[in-house]
C-alpha cells in the first residue's frame, strides 16, 4: 500500500500545475464609451454613460465626461436630460407602449453613438396564485398564472422570482461583516407550460435547478398559456413563509433586449479557459452598450398552503 501511495503522490506531483504572472502593457488601451439604457414601460427613462476600465482594474466605472444626450420620440422634438447624477442622465419622459425612441449620445472627438427601440407593452397576465406544497420531501412553492401572448408579433419573455432575505456580507475594505438585505433569483425545481386552448397540443416542462426562464413565443404564439413555477423552499421557509419576501417578475422584452440579456448572462456564466472570448451584443452604432425596451410586471407573493385534495 505504501508503494502505491508513493506512486500516486509521484503522479500528482508530475501533474502539479505551475502558475506565473505575466506582464501586460496597460498604455495601449483607450477606454471605450458605454451607453446603457433599458427603457421600462410606465417608468422614467434614464441612460447611463460610462467609460470602460482596464480588465485587471476593479475600480467603479467612471462616468463619461463632456457628453450630451438627445432623445426623440416618434421623430418628434428633441428632448434633453433634465438632470444627471454621476453617469446617470434622466429624461422627463415616461415610456409608453408603442413609442418609437431614438437616442443620440454626442461624445467629444468621436462619432455620435446612436440607438433606437420601440417600447413593448406590459405582459398580458392575471395576478398569480401561490401555494406551498409541504408534502414534497423538499417543500415546493407553486406559483401559477396565465400568460396571454399577443398574436402576429414575435414576443420574448423573461420570468424569475426574486427572493429577499436579510443576511450578512463580508466588507473587504473594513474587514467586517455587514448586515444587509440580500436579493437573489429564487431557484426553481420545476416549471411547466400548458396552453389553455385544448385544441393546441402543447405541454412542455423543465426539471432541474435553475433560476430564470427566457423564451420566445414561438411555441405559444397568440395563445393563453398556464404557467406553473415550482420554487424550492426549505422547511423553515415553508413553515414561516413571511421570513422571506418573494416577488414574481414577468417581463416582456424587445428582441434586442432579449438578445442582450441572454448573451450577457451566457458570457458571465462561461467558464471554459479554451473558448474564444466574445463580444456581447450591442444595438448601438459607433459604440457599445444597449438601448432596448423592457416591460415588467411585479407581483409580491403571499403563499397559502396546498392540500392534497387540491389536485
Amino acid at each position: 500500500m505504501k508503494k502505491i501511495s508513493y506512486f500516486v503522490i509521484a503522479i500528482l506531483l508530475l501533474f502539479t500545475s505551475c502558475e506565473k504572472v505575466l506582464d501586460f502593457n496597460v498604455d495601449e488601451l483607450e477606454p471605450l464609451v458605454v451607453v446603457n439604457s433599458l427603457p421600462c414601460t410606465d417608468s422614467q427613462l434614464f441612460v447611463s454613460v460610462t467609460r470602460s476600465r482596464f480588465f485587471l482594474d476593479n475600480s467603479p466605472f467612471p462616468p463619461a465626461e463632456g457628453v450630451t444626450l438627445e432623445l426623440q420620440v416618434f421623430g418628434g422634438p428633441t428632448l434633453f436630460p433634465t438632470h444627471h447624477d454621476s453617469a446617470y442622465h434622466f429624461f422627463n419622459y415616461i415610456a409608453q407602449p408603442g413609442d418609437s425612441l431614438t437616442l443620440r449620445v454626442n461624445v467629444p472627438g468621436r462619432d455620435p453613438i446612436v440607438g433606437s427601440t420601440r417600447i413593448v407593452p406590459l405582459p398580458d397576465m392575471q395576478p398569480p396564485s401561490a401555494l406551498i406544497d409541504t408534502l414534497q420531501p423538499i417543500p415546493l412553492g407553486d406559483i401559477a398564472f396565465t400568460l396571454t401572448d399577443p398574436a402576429d408579433t414575435r414576443n420574448y419573455y423573461y420570468i424569475y422570482v426574486m427572493e429577499r432575505d436579510s443576511g450578512s456580507r463580508w466588507n473587504r475594505w473594513e474587514a467586517k461583516w455587514d448586515t444587509i438585505d440580500t436579493v437573489r433569483h429564487a431557484y426553481f425545481n420545476c416549471l411547466n407550460l400548458q396552453v389553455t386552448d385544448p385544441s393546441v397540443n402543447l405541454s412542455a416542462g423543465m426539471m432541474g435547478y435553475f433560476n430564470e426562464l427566457f423564451f420566445s413565443d414561438s411555441l405559444i404564439d397568440g395563445q393563453a398559456t398556464d404557467i406553473t413555477v415550482s420554487l424550492l423552499m426549505f422547511k423553515d421557509t415553508a413553515e414561516h413563509p413571511l421570513l422571506k419576501e418573494y416577488t414574481l417578475v414577468v417581463e416582456s422584452l424587445s428582441p434586442d433586449a432579449f438578445r442582450y440579456i441572454k448573451e450577457v448572462k451566457a458570457k458571465q456564466s462561461a467558464t471554459s479557459y479554451f473558448a474564444e472570448p466574445t463580444r456581447a451584443f450591442s444595438n448601438l452604432s459607433s459604440g457599445i452598450g444597449i438601448f432596448a425596451s423592457v416591460a415588467r410586471r411585479l407581483y409580491p407573493l403571499t403563499f397559502g398552503y396546498k392540500e392534497p385534495d387540491d389536485e
Binding site: F24, N36, E276
Partner: protein, 806 residues
C-alpha cells in the same frame, strides 16, 4: 537489326525486406547503363521498361545492402528483390534515410523513417508519430503537449490523415496529447505540405499518408511494451504459409485503473464534508470516474501469386471519459448519475492489388469509415415512500451525438510506359452520411402525491441527416524530360453532391525539379486544393465537441492556391540542406460566430457559422545529417498566417485581418540521435518558437441597469455586473515556447528476444511554458489583486518504458 535494337521489354516485380517480407516503398531500381530508373510504389512494386540489351540493375534502399542484377533483356522479366538490412549485416556505418530528396520531382514532401520517429523523445515516453512530425519545418504544434497539426498556416481540419489510403476523421487521443497512430503498427509515413500530387485531394493544407505493416511472412514476431501511461502489444507473422500474413497491434492507457482508488478516496472525503456542512449524511455512496483510450490495428495480407495480393485491414480507436455516482441519503432518496463521453474511429478496408500487365498495376479499395462522438447523461432520482409521503421517481436522459459514416470505393492504376513516365490515374466514389448534431432529451417524472400522474418530455433537436456523394477522378504523370528536368503534372476533378446541389472543382497540380549541379536542384510547385468538409471548434485544443460538418447548399467548399519554390542540396556524408518558400491563399474558411457554441441552442450549425479567407507565407529551412553515428536535423520556419472575415453580416474582429490562432513568426527544432554502440543510443531535441496568439478581454464595462433597486431598496452597485470586451482577435502573444527533451535506449539481446529500456525526460530544464492564460482576481484584507496568469501543465517529466521484442 534496327528493329531489334528499338524493341523494349519490361522488368517488373517487387522489392521487399529479406527478413520480414515487408515490401519497401520508394526503393530505387536503376539501370546503370542507361541511367534510367524508377521507384517502387506504395505496394513496393516497380515496372522498368528498357531497350533490348544486357542490362545491369542496381536496387537501393537506404539502410539496406544494394542488390546488383544482370539481365539479358530479350523478353519481359519478373523480379522480386529481397534486400538485406545493413543492420543485420552489422555494417559499421549507420546510415539513415533522407527525409527529403533533391532528385525527386516532388517538393514539400517528407518521407520520415518510422524508426527515426520512434527515436524522438516525447511526452510520457509514448512514441508519437504526429508529435515527431511537429519537429519538422512548416509543421506546427498547437498548445503544449498537443498533437494538433498546423501546416503552413492551415487549420487543424485541413490535414488529410490517410491510414492505408482511407481517411481518418479524428486522430487525437486524450484531448490531443496523443495521436491515433500506434507506431508499432506503422511501416511508412509520408507528409505532403504542398505541391500535392493529383491523386490526393479533399484537404487544403497537408496529406499524412500512413502505411501499416503487412506482417512478417517468414516467422512469428512480436513486441510488448509497458510505458508510463500505456501498454502495447504487437504480433505479426505468417498464417500457414508465406502467402498469408497477419499483423496485429493493440494499445491501451491504464491511468484510470491505477488512479481509481485515489478518485474514490477523494470523492468519499468530499461527500463526507458536504454531509457535515449540510447536516445530512450520505449513508451509502459509490463513485467512480476515469478516462482511457485504446487503439487496435489489424491487417491480413494474402498473396495469390506474384501478380495478385489482397489486404484486409481494420483500425478501431476510441476515447472514453466516464463518471458514475450512486448515492443513498438519509432522507430516503436515491440518486444515480451516469455521465459518459466517448469518441473514436472505425476504419475497415479491403484492397486488391493486381498486375494487369507488367506496365499496368491496379489497386482496388473498398472501405467503411465510422466516426462517433457521443455525450450522454442519465440522472435518476428515486424518493422512497415514507409514512407521510408517497414515493416518486424522475429520470432525465440527455444524449448528444455527432456521427459520420463513409462508404468508399476506388480504383487506382499505375502505368509505367517507359522509365521517363510514371502515370497514375484513378477514380473514387465516397458515400457520406453526416449526422452532425443530434441532441435528444427525455424526462420521465412520476410522483403520486404531487402530480398523481406522470410527466413525459421527449425532444430531439437538429436530428437531420445529411447524405452526400463525393466523386473524384485524377490523372498525373511524373515525367523525366531529360536528366536535369523532371515534372509532375496532373489534374484532380472532384465533385460533392449535397442537398440537391453539386459543387464541382477542377484542381490542377504541377511541380518540377531542375538539377543545377551534382546533388543540387531547384524545385517549384503549384497546387489548387478543395475541401468539402469543415471542423467546427470553439476551443484551441482538440475536444470531443469539435464538429465535422459537410458543405451544404449554402456553405461553399473551402479552396486554396499554394505556390512554393525551393533549393535542395545533397552533400553526401556531410548532410543535406533544403530551403523552401511558400505562399498560400485560402478561401471560404469557416468559424463559429462570436459567442456561438455547439450546444445550448436549437439553431442549426449552419446558422452559427461565418465564412472568411486566409493567407499564409513563410520560409522553411531544413539541414539534416543522415550518415554516421550522429544523425538528426535542424528545422527552422519563418512564417505568417492571417485570417479575415469581412463578408457582410459575417464579420469577425470587426472585419479587420487578424493573426491565425497558430500564427508563429519563428519555429526552430533541433533533433539529434547518437548511436554509441549496439547496446546504447541517445537522442535529444530542443524546440524554440514564438508564443501562441491569444485573444484577451482587455476591457470591462458596466452591464445595463435593470432597476431592480426600484422595488427592493437594494444598493444598485451591489446588483450591477460587468461585461468583458475582447480586444483585437489573437493580438496578444504568450511568452515564447522552448523545451528540451532527452532519451536513452538500452538494448540487450537474448537468445530469443531483445529487450529495450527507454528512459526519457520531457522538458529537461523544467521550462514553464504557457498552456493557457487567464485572469486572476483575489480579494484580501483591504487589497484587491488582479493579474494575468499563465498556467503551465508539464514540468520536467521523466518516464521509463520497457519493451520486449521477439
Amino acid at each position: 537489326m534496327g528493329t531489334a535494337q528499338a524493341q523494349s521489354f519490361t522488368i517488373s516485380g517487387t522489392v521487399s525486406d529479406a527478413a520480414s517480407g515487408e515490401t519497401l516503398i520508394g526503393a530505387a531500381v536503376m539501370d546503370l547503363g542507361s541511367g534510367k530508373g524508377v521507384l517502387t510504389n506504395a505496394q513496393g512494386r516497380f515496372s522498368l521498361t528498357l531497350r533490348r540489351d544486357t542490362v545491369r540493375l542496381r536496387v537501393t534502399y537506404v539502410g539496406y545492402k544494394p542488390i546488383f542484377d544482370t539481365i539479358v533483356l530479350r523478353s519481359n522479366h519478373k523480379r522480386n528483390y529481397k534486400m538485406v538490412s545493413s543492420v543485420e549485416l552489422k555494417t559499421v556505418v549507420v546510415q539513415g534515410e533522407r527525409i527529403a530528396s533533391a532528385k525527386s520531382s516532388q517538393m514539400s514532401a517528407i518521407q520520415v523513417p518510422i524508426e527515426r520517429l520512434k527515436a524522438v523523445p516525447v511526452l510520457f515516453g509514448e512514441a508519437d508519430l504526429v508529435k515527431a512530425l511537429q519537429l519538422l519545418p512548416g509543421v506546427q504544434s498547437g498548445s503544449e503537449g498537443n498533437s494538433g497539426f498546423y501546416v503552413r498556416g492551415g487549420g487543424p481540419d485541413e490535414n488529410l490523415f490517410l491510414l492505408d489510403g482511407v481517411p481518418l476523421y479524428n486522430v487525437s487521443h486524450m484531448g490531443g496529447f496523443f495521436s491515433a497512430f500506434n507506431t508499432d503498427a506503422v511501416k511508412n509515413v509520408t507528409l505532403y505540405k504542398g505541391s500535392f500530387p493529383a491523386h490526393f485531394g479533399g484537404r487544403l493544407s497537408s496529406v499524412l499518408d500512413v502505411t501499416t505493416n503487412n506482417g512478417n511472412d517468414k516467422e512469428l514476431h512480436g513486441n510488448a511494451s509497458l510505458g508510463f501511461i500505456s501498454a502495447k502489444v504487437s504480433l505479426e507473422g505468417p498464417l500457414k504459409s508465406e502467402r498469408t500474413t497477419f499483423s496485429l497491434s493493440a494499445r491501451r492507457t491504464y491511468a484510470d485503473i491505477l488512479l481509481q482508488p485515489l478518485v474514490r478516496h477523494l470523492a468519499n472525503n468530499r461527500s463526507e464534508e458536504a454531509g457535515e456542512r449540510t447536516g445530512t449524511s450520505m449513508q451509502d455512496s459509490k463513485f467512480s470516474a476515469g478516462y482511457y483510450f485504446y487503439d487496435l490495428n489489424g491487417k491480413l495480407t494474402h498473396r495469390f501469386n506474384d501478380r495478385s495480393r489482397l489486404f484486409a485491414s481494420v483500425y478501431l480507436g476510441s476515447d472514453k471519459v466516464y463518471t458514475r455516482v450512486r448515492t443513498l441519503s438519509t432522507d430516503e432518496q436515491e440518486q444515480y448519475l451516469d455521465f459518459d463521453t466517448k469518441w473514436g474511429n472505425l476504419v475497415a478496408s479491403l484492397r486488391w492489388n493486381y498486375e494487369l500487365t507488367p506496365k499496368l498495376f491496379l489497386n482496388v479499395t473498398g472501405a467503411y469509415t465510422r466516426y462517433n462522438n457521443i455525450i450522454g447523461v442519465n440522472y435518476e432520482t428515486v424518493t422512497l415512500p415514507t409514512d407521510e409521503t408517497e414515493g416518486s421517481t424522475s429520470e432525465f436522459k440527455m444524449d448528444y451525438t455527432s456521427r459520420i459514416f463513409d462508404l468508399t470505393a476506388k480504383a487506382d492504376l499505375d502505368f509505367t510506359p517507359n522509365p521517363d513516365h510514371m502515370v497514375k490515374f484513378g477514380t473514387s466514389l465516397v458515400h457520406h452520411r453526416f449526422m452532425p448534431e443530434v441532441a435528444s432529451a427525455h424526462l420521465d417524472a412520476y410522483s403520486q402525491a404531487y402530480m398523481n400522474s406522470s410527466l413525459v418530455l421527449d425532444t430531439s433537436i437538429n436530428s437531420g441527416v445529411t447524405l452526400a456523394e463525393e466523386m473524384t477522378a485524377y490523372i498525373e504523370d511524373d515525367w523525366s524530360i531529360n536528366e536535369a528536368l523532371k515534372v509532375n503534372y496532373g489534374v484532380n476533378v472532384s465533385g460533392f453532391a449535397v442537398d440537391g446541389k453539386l459543387w464541382p472543382t477542377l484542381q490542377p497540380r504541377l511541380s518540377g525539379r531542375m538539377m543545377l549541379g551534382e546533388g543540387l536542384s531547384l524545385k517549384a510547385g503549384y497546387a489548387y486544393m478543395t475541401q468539402f468538409m469543415h471542423l467546427l471548434s470553439t476551443t484551441s485544443i482538440s475536444m470531443p465537441t469539435d464538429l465535422w460538418v459537410p458543405v451544404t447548399h449554402d456553405i461553399a467548399p473551402m479552396y486554396a492556391h499554394q505556390v512554393a519554390a525551393g533549393l535542395f542540396y545533397e552533400s553526401g556524408p556531410w548532410g543535406d540542406l533544403s530551403v523552401e518558400a511558400y505562399y498560400k491563399k485560402m478561401h471560404n474558411l469557416l468559424e463559429y460566430k462570436d459567442g456561438a457554441t455547439f450546444f445550448g441552442s436549437s439553431e442549426s450549425w449552419q446558422e452559427k457559422v461565418v465564412m472568411g479567407d486566409g493567407w499564409a507565407y513563410g520560409i522553411e529551412l531544413l539541414v539534416q545529417r543522415n550518415i554516421g553515428k550522429l544523425t538528426g536535423w535542424i528545422g527552422y520556419t519563418w512564417s505568417k498566417a492571417m485570417r479575415q472575415f469581412d463578408r457582410p453580416g459575417q464579420e469577425l474582429n470587426g472585419g479587420e485581418p487578424f493573426p491565425a490562432k497558430y500564427d508563429r513568426r519563428h519555429d526552430l527544432s533541433i533533433v539529434v540521435s547518437y548511436k554509441l554502440n549496439d547496446r546504447i543510443d541517445f537522442s535529444a531535441n530542443w524546440v524554440l518558437s514564438t508564443g501562441n496568439a491569444a485573444t484577451l478581454s482587455t476591457q470591462e464595462y458596466a452591464e445595463a441597469q435593470r432597476t431592480i433597486a426600484d422595488y427592493t431598496g437594494i444598493d444598485p452597485e451591489g446588483w450591477r455586473g460587468y461585461i468583458t470586451e475582447p480586444g483585437q482577435r489573437n493580438a496578444f502573444r504568450m511568452p515564447n515556447y522552448h523545451r528540451m527533451d532527452i532519451s536513452a535506449n538500452f538494448h540487450r539481446k537474448f537468445r530469443r528476444c531483445q529487450r529495450t529500456i527507454n528512459v526519457s525526460i520531457y522538458n529537461l530544464y523544467n521550462r514553464k511554458n504557457p498552456y493557457i492564460i487567464y485572469e486572476s482576481h483575489e480579494y484580501t484584507f483591504r487589497n484587491y489583486n488582479a493579474a494575468l496568469v499563465q498556467l503551465s501543465i508539464f514540468p520536467i517529466l521523466p518516464s521509463i518504458a520497457y519493451t520486449l521484442k521477439w
